[in-house]
């Protein structure tokens, strides 16, 4: 056992070193993005780029907050995030339905779901807008959120994961007299924590960055999100790179927090006891 452990240690060290080297290379643009947000505009396109600002400034952040209707944009963004989690839940249900039930034409319906991933979004933009227009949802939060609520990627991912949950477990619960919804909420959801965590992260990122629909659907700026607000700072000719980097750095902060929060569920895993 002792020798096995030391061998495991060496391997762990190799893994760590590999990860550190790869991690540094891979995160360089990210680091640059953060440090650039403290650079004056004159330094940002310097060639070769400086990793750290020579004349650091927080002016970009000051501009960022003084130039935006910050409160309104943040509120809208948060509403969208919250509503998206309803979507996450619907996708989980659908994924479970596809994974653990048998019904006629199941695969055909599933292909139909997958097909929605295969068309570039721009092609359907105008038809979706016209539909929302017919439904009277222009200039409403519902119009912004509704089209993105269900996502094939997410349903597919849930299906794949939930398929690995042993069916015996569900059957056993049924024999104990548990209802289908009880099984889903009390058995499936806890077991699926890791995948809920992954989807939670992805849903949050997508909602937090939501951009095109808030812009298209809004008839005034009261429905704009943070991303739309940020892109307004970009001129037609002058690009204000430093300002945009400050905006991007600011946008990324909550994502990192959410990521650290959720990732413990990815790593924690489910204890095997539930499966026995």
């Amino acid at each position: 056992m002792a020798s096995g452990k030391s061998k495991g240690n060496t391997e762990r060290w190799i893994a760590t070193i590999l990860l550190i080297i790869g991690g540094f290379i891979i995160s360089l643009p990210f680091i640059w993005m953060i440090t650039s947000s403290f650079k004056p505009e004159s330094e940002i396109l310097q060639m070769p780029p400086t990793l750290f600002a020579e004349n650091p400034t927080i002016q970009n952040y000051i501009n960022l907050f003084t130039n935006m209707n910050f409160g309104v944009y943040l509120r809208n963004t948060l509403i969208i995030v919250l509503l998206s989690f309803i979507g996450l839940f619907l996708n989980a249900m659908a994924g479970y339905g596809f994974a653990k039930y048998h019904f006629k034409n199941k695969e055909k319906v599933f292909y139909l779901v997958l097909a929605t991933m295969m068309i570039p979004g721009q092609v359907t933009m105008i038809p979706v807008y016209l539909l929302l227009n017919e439904m009277g949802l222009i200039n409403t939060m519902a119009g912004i959120v509704l089209p993105g609520l269900a996502a094939a990627f997410s349903i597919f991912l849930f299906r794949m994961f939930m398929a690995t949950i042993p069916t015996d477990l569900i059957e056993a619960a049924r024999l104990d007299g548990a209802g289908e919804f009880y099984i889903f909420f009390r058995l499936i959801m806890p077991i699926s924590k890791p995948i809920f965590a992954v989807q939670g992260i992805l849903t949050f990122i997508a909602a937090w960055n939501s951009f095109l629909w808030p812009l298209i659907i809004a008839n005034d700026e009261s429905l704009y999100t943070l991303s739309v607000g940020l892109s307004l700072l970009k001129g037609q000719y002058a690009s204000n790179f430093a300002l945009q980097m400050a905006g991007a750095a600011f946008m990324v902060l909550p994502i990192i927090i959410i990521f650290s929060f959720f990732q413990k569920y990815i790593v924690e895993g489910f204890t095997t006891s539930g499966l026995k």
């Binding site: 396109l45 309803i86 939060m141 519902a142 812009l215 005034d220 700026e221 429905l223 307004l232």
Partner: protein
């Protein structure tokens, strides 16, 4: 039985969507609100400008919606498709023809007499192109831009030019000498992605863009393109991305380039040390020294119910005083000729050059296929510069394609 299974969630979904509809923004369409779409930063700045207007017209509220430049086209498309547009719309001059052709812009002809500020003669000749589509008046120029030549006075002095090169030959000579003055120096920087530059050269060489049957194999056009591509062939300009133009200008690696008025501020902000070592000049001439004119117009959306209010607002924005105020706020150039008599422009050594150049400008041809034609030409130029294609053959095929694009 199956149906029943679907009804419950369907009702749920509908309930959800109506509940969500409740939390919408819900302002906008009241009786006296004028909705205005403006782009990017200008949209934000315009919002500040409207206060004065609202004070003068207490019964009207102006609601400016700022739209990011990169997504403006998407937003306009949905507006055109659904008819859910604003009352007043800021439109880049190169988009005017396309949206006018689609019938998205109100014909202002019958209102022209009521609003003296709209008179065509108030505006630069080049800008008048963008006001008209077919026989309609579809827009009023709000601000304009034109391309001039930015150059390093000190470096040009070193190669014997105490004045800016004034002709094609001088430009070529100066750029050649500059290129020879050091390694990695490119005497003239030409932006290969800029759609209008090849046409500027062509205009200067006497080319006329016939909007029905343009002839791109004419000697005027061919010669201009020969001149344009010769810079790349001789290594005076580079097809390689290299470094950002501001830094290259600062380092002296790209001492001459063509650009618009926005560059003044960028240079002042990003290269403050360079002050006094650079200047702008009007375009070097061949037959003439025409440059392009662009900028943005105000248009009224075709189904606006507040046409009078919209026109009144546009008229206010285009008064000479408002234009000057806007210029100071946004650093864009006024479209009104009269505004240029103001000392803030006339006595400014940079702006006055732009004023002079603006007198000699042409607008992009008012055809809806403009973007496509211009992009096709850039592809042809790429094939000549990088792919080594023959210029005459490329122009022949470009001519054919362009003419088939234009209806």
């Amino acid at each position: 039985m199956k149906k029943k299974g679907l009804v419950v969630p369907a009702v749920l979904a509908m309930g959800l969507s109506t509940a969500l509809a409740g939390c919408g923004g819900g302002s906008g369409d009241s009786e006296n609100t004028l909705s205005v779409w403006a782009m990017g930063e200008e949209g934000k700045l315009l919002d500040e400008m409207t206060e004065a207007y609202e004070e003068e017209n207490p019964d009207v509220t102006v609601d400016v919606q700022a739209i990011p430049w990169d997504q403006a086209y998407d937003k306009l498309l949905t507006a055109v498709a659904s008819g859910n547009g604003p009352d007043v719309l800021q439109l880049g001059t190169t988009w005017v023809a396309e949206f006018a052709d689609a019938g998205a812009l109100l014909d202002l002809t019958e209102h022209m007499e009521d609003y003296p500020d709209f008179n065509l003669d108030n505006y630069f000749e080049g800008a008048q192109t963008s006001m008209k589509y077919d026989d309609q008046i579809v827009g009023i120029p709000w601000y304009v831009e034109t391309r001039t030549m930015y150059y390093r006075t000190d470096l040009l002095e070193e190669v014997g030019y105490s004045e800016a090169p004034a002709t094609w030959d001088e430009l070529k000579d100066a750029a050649t000498k500059l290129s020879e003055s050091g390694e990695d120096v490119y005497g003239l920087d030409i932006d290969l992605n800029d759609q209008i530059t090849p046409f500027i050269f062509a205009w200067q060489n006497g080319f006329e863009f016939d909007t029905e049957n343009p002839d791109f194999t004419s000697p005027e056009f061919t010669e201009a393109l020969e001149y344009y591509t010769s810079y790349f062939e001789e290594g005076i300009s580079t097809t390689s991305e290299g470094i950002d133009i501001i830094q290259a200008f600062k380092d002296g690696q790209k001492p001459i380039f063509f650009s618009g008025p926005w560059m003044i501020n960028i240079l002042n902000d990003q290269a403050p040390d360079l002050e006094g070592q650079w200047a702008v000049a009007t375009m070097p001439a061949k037959e003439n020294n025409l440059s392009s004119i662009g900028g943005a117009n105000f248009s009224v959306f075709h189904n606006s119910e507040k046409v009078d209010e919209a026109l009144d607002f546009i008229s206010y924005m285009n008064e000479v005083d408002t234009q000057i105020e806007w210029m100071e706020k946004s650093n864009t150039l006024p479209s009104r000729l009269e505004a240029w008599e103001d000392p803030k422009l006339a006595d400014d050594e940079m702006y006055s050059v732009f004023g002079e150049q603006l007198e000699n400008t042409k607008g992009a041809p008012p055809i809806k296929e403009w973007e496509k034609v211009a992009q096709e030409l850039l592809s042809s130029i790429e094939r000549i510069n990088i792919g080594g294609a023959d210029l005459d053959e490329e122009l022949e095929s470009f001519n054919e394609k362009a003419n088939s694009m234009i209806e």
